[in-house]
Subunit: 351 residues, 2 copies
DNA sequence: CCACTCTGTGTAAGCGCTTGCAAGATTACG
DNA sequence: CGTAATCTTGCAAGCGCTTACACAGAGTGG
């Protein structure tokens, strides 16, 4: 079942059927009706591969994500998908599991499918890829990584401002001894957050004492970091975490050790994933507006597709601001205790 | 940049390049090496649309989901994606937002892209679609909806057993007054769960008193249902929820009203989404093994792709069993109180 | 040493669709 | 009513790839 069948049934040429399907060119209304009826009767739908091959473009956006498990990326994907759908586009996702090799092969697949635009929402990156994408002339959006280029737009979060919001909020609550729980990476957004934290505490809140714990990722990493902190003797009044997941891990360990949050120690996250709201105590965090990011991605990728041709699109850079969301995991710093070596502990309650 | 360019550079014909790329037919090893080098040097990658058009099949699986926001569906998708990737397939997702119209159009898109197999993990369904898919001869898997057909495999969860596990567990704890919080739908898996609950309580635990609250979906629905229960005068000792999300809503309302869970009332969910573990108190629930479902989907879709041709695959039906996961939201039923009209309340603690 | 079977490679016909070009049909206008 | 301008439609050439078929050269056995 193909265009030919439809054309034969409607007694026109395939060219005419194509024009009806794509609503281009001029077709007499009676002819159009005849064609539409034939399509209807035959229950015809077009072969999209053939269409893309012949036409050169597909109404498809590509999106590559490090990890769909991460609700953060998922939220972005959902927004992009919804926006794209509204404009008649579908979106092809691939996830890389943080492996550069998969990134490269995914990009190849996307290019091989001739997507109309490509969003890379990943934390790993290969420099050679950027060159390849630049040469492809395809509209590309990077989130949080890479550099702007003629056809590449860059979306960045203002981590500095975000950390500033968190730190100045904690400072206002009287906290003077902060711990930072982060990663070991010397690159990427996670490292940027750490640097932002250190800069902010140094410049805006010079009276603060600061310690950082570097760790593996995820919830377990947070737990581990908390344990490490508890035995370090630093005794912070607040623990600033590089993201929400780590913060939940910290919360968990603190709970296991019967250390009251936020009475004895405050905890903050970063991102504001859904979990942040449900965990107990609900997490104070800096919200990155995922929806806005998704909208911007779709907007950028689809922007010129109608009036195409000469948009030079000067290496655009989009800056996204975060929003401090105060919940239950933060409170005024406890008064200085006689034994600064120990966290205040709730008395172990019977179970 | 296409096959021709590679062929010219390697001084062979396009046919030979194609054979090297697809590892079919016989190619002399020296020729192969020359072709590979040309591919390398030109940084060539194939046009997948052309390949699919010419070859008839694509190494792509399609998956249509009602709502990727639902972590349950997402888990299935992730497993399918991972399995598919391991076998050299990519997967195209679409989500329908529970709208039948989007389902139909998504199926069209998948067929139009000539996917090698299609998984429908949706709760809405159009009877006409089943016929269409049946005619397409494409390997199809339905999850939790639809009927088995020659080319259509059906994966079903044994809700009856699941509910039986929950009810008999609660019965063993001494609970005799159960409330069920569910939906209004008269169809689909959610309705099946409700029916299973009613049948189980009637047959296996005849001494129980039962009330059902039908509601809208989601967390808010659960909260609303709990409020309704609190004013109904039924005073259950345990609340069985149709899924985890609703259960979390119930938990939330109970907490707001300072009703102790599980001391005064036990709560159970269904599904075991990630949230169930993090909520306080952690939710007792019947776990549907998402990974297993994902594996089965991939396995089914890719099964015959090598030895294809004559698999009649008699309308297969796959039954998945649930597993009771006991956490903190359930406990022995409280002793009968003098004023059965009221839930036991914790005394409001100071904040 | 010849008929025959493999093995390796090229030729060319599509796969289903879009689109530039040109011809035929229709309309406008003097 | 004739001619030019405009609207409709069809023809046919691809898009980049796969694959049946043909065929040349290399083994093989008798």
């Amino acid at each position: 079942m193909n265009l030919d069948d439809v054309a034969r049934r409607a007694k026109v040429s395939t060219a005419t059927v194509s024009r009806v399907l794509n609503q281009v060119g001029a077709v007499r209304s009676t002819t159009r009706a005849r064609v539409m009826r034939a399509i209807e009767e035959l229950n015809y739908y077009p072969n999209l591969n053939a269409r893309t091959l012949a036409g050169g473009t597909s109404r498809t956006l590509g999106m590559i994500v490090s990890n769909l498990e991460n609700p953060f990326f998922l939220d972005i994907f959902r927004t992009v998908e919804a926006d794209a759908y509204r404009r008649g586009y579908e979106v092809l996702v691939a996830h890389t599991d943080y492996r550069p090799a998969r990134l490269v092969s995914s990009v190849r697949v996307m290019l091989g499918r001739h997507v109309a635009g490509l969003a890379l929402v990943v934390s790993e990156m290969e420099p050679s890829l950027i060159r390849e994408l630049e040469n492809s002339k395809l509209p590309v959006v990077f989130y949080d990584v890479g550099t702007a280029r003629p056809n590449i737009t860059n979306i960045k979060v203002h981590y500095r401002h975000g950390m500033q919001k968190i730190v100045s909020y904690l400072h206002g609550l009287g906290h003077r001894r902060l711990a930072f729980v982060g990663h070991h990476t010397a690159l990427g957004p996670l490292h940027e957050r750490k640097r932002a934290f250190l800069e902010v505490t140094a410049e805006y809140a010079p009276g603060m004492r600061v310690v950082t714990v570097a760790n593996v990722d995820g919830l377990a990493g947070g737990q581990h970091a908390a344990r490490e902190l508890l035995t370090s003797g630093f005794d912070p009044t607040a623990i600033v975490c590089v993201n929400d997941i780590m913060a939940v891990g910290v919360l968990r360990e603190l709970r296991a050790q019967r250390i009251a949050v936020p009475r004895a120690v405050s905890v903050t996250g970063f991102d504001d994933v859904a979990l942040a709201e449900f965990v107990v105590p609900a997490l104070t965090t800096a919200r990155i507006p995922r929806e806005e990011i998704g909208h911007r991605i779709c907007e950028t990728l689809l922007a010129d597709h109608s009036s195409a041709r000469e948009r030079p699109a000067p290496g655009l850079e989009v800056i996204i601001e975060t929003e401090l969301v105060v919940r239950e995991s933060t409170a005024p710093a406890p008064a200085r205790r006689s034994t600064p070596k120990r966290f205040a502990r709730r008395k172990p309650r019977a179970r």
